[in-house]
Symmetry: C2
Subunit: 159 residues, 2 copies
């Protein structure tokens, strides 16, 4: 029996799940699953917590401390960006995050003496993406931008 073509959203999800950044993210989530509770879960299932719709996002209050789980996801996301940069350039890009308990702070990704990414964050509470496609796109863009910075300053990245 031939498999019928999926809806565009399903095809987009499949493309997203095949992206190197998303695969790296799923691997990192599995690595955190110390007791193997999610061994049977697919990558798409592991990533469901990263997906929040516009409606869900609006319902998350940004007053008060963010959920520790969202801080962990935020951390894993930028760690996956760093690892994907490393896979493509051979240079370790280590994330440094200074997030206050209230969810305000800064994320830096550095390679050697070079800052390849820097962002001030104010709403970690609502960290998430509307679809798997958006997640894949955001990760790939961060990786591409960081690699462009490394290519602009190759000696500093290796200093």
């Amino acid at each position: 029996m031939s498999v019928p073509a999926g809806t565009p959203a399903v095809n987009e999800d499949e493309a997203a799940l095949a992206a190197p950044f998303v695969k790296c993210l799923a691997r990192l989530i599995r690595a955190q699953d110390t007791y193997g509770l999610q061994d049977g879960a697919s990558d798409a299932e592991l990533l469901t917590h990263f997906i929040i719709t516009e409606q869900q996002r609006r319902e998350i209050p940004i007053i008060g401390d963010p959920d520790p789980d969202v801080l962990l996801r935020f951390n894993i996301f930028y760690t996956a960006v760093g690892l994907t940069i490393e896979a493509r350039t051979g240079l370790v890009a280590s994330p440094t995050m200074m997030i206050s308990h209230e969810g305000f702070g800064r994320v830096l990704l550095t390679t050697g003496r070079l800052v390849v990414f820097s962002k001030t964050v104010r709403d970690v509470h609502r960290f998430g993406f509307a679809t798997l496609g958006k997640l894949a796109e955001a990760g790939a863009k961060l990786v591409d931008d960081a690699i462009a910075v490394i290519e602009a300053y190759p000696d500093v990245a290796r200093a």
Copy 2:
């Protein structure tokens, strides 16, 4: 009445208190003193908590969470390094600290796209200096080293 010459230690303290880095550090401590409880204190008195003798240092356990006050001093120290770099170069050097509640972590000072200082820390619990002179020396060395990095990569520091 002429002031008698002090002991060498006292003279060393006076020299330390006149150093730009130490003055900046004292100013930052005053800035944190919201209720003006220490308005009457001299710079030397404000800095006493930064001074721990070798004996005191050994008595501080490095197991368990560091004292929140020591984390605050650690933070103020590197902020003062950043401000002194700014005063000398005109470039903002912002500190990013990622210290776990157990006192392990990383400190970065960045200027533009340049990492001017990076350190892995393991014993924030024992953060302090044997004398005011040592404090002044450590701060001045960090500032000088960071400025040497900025001079080596002037375009990256302004990127």
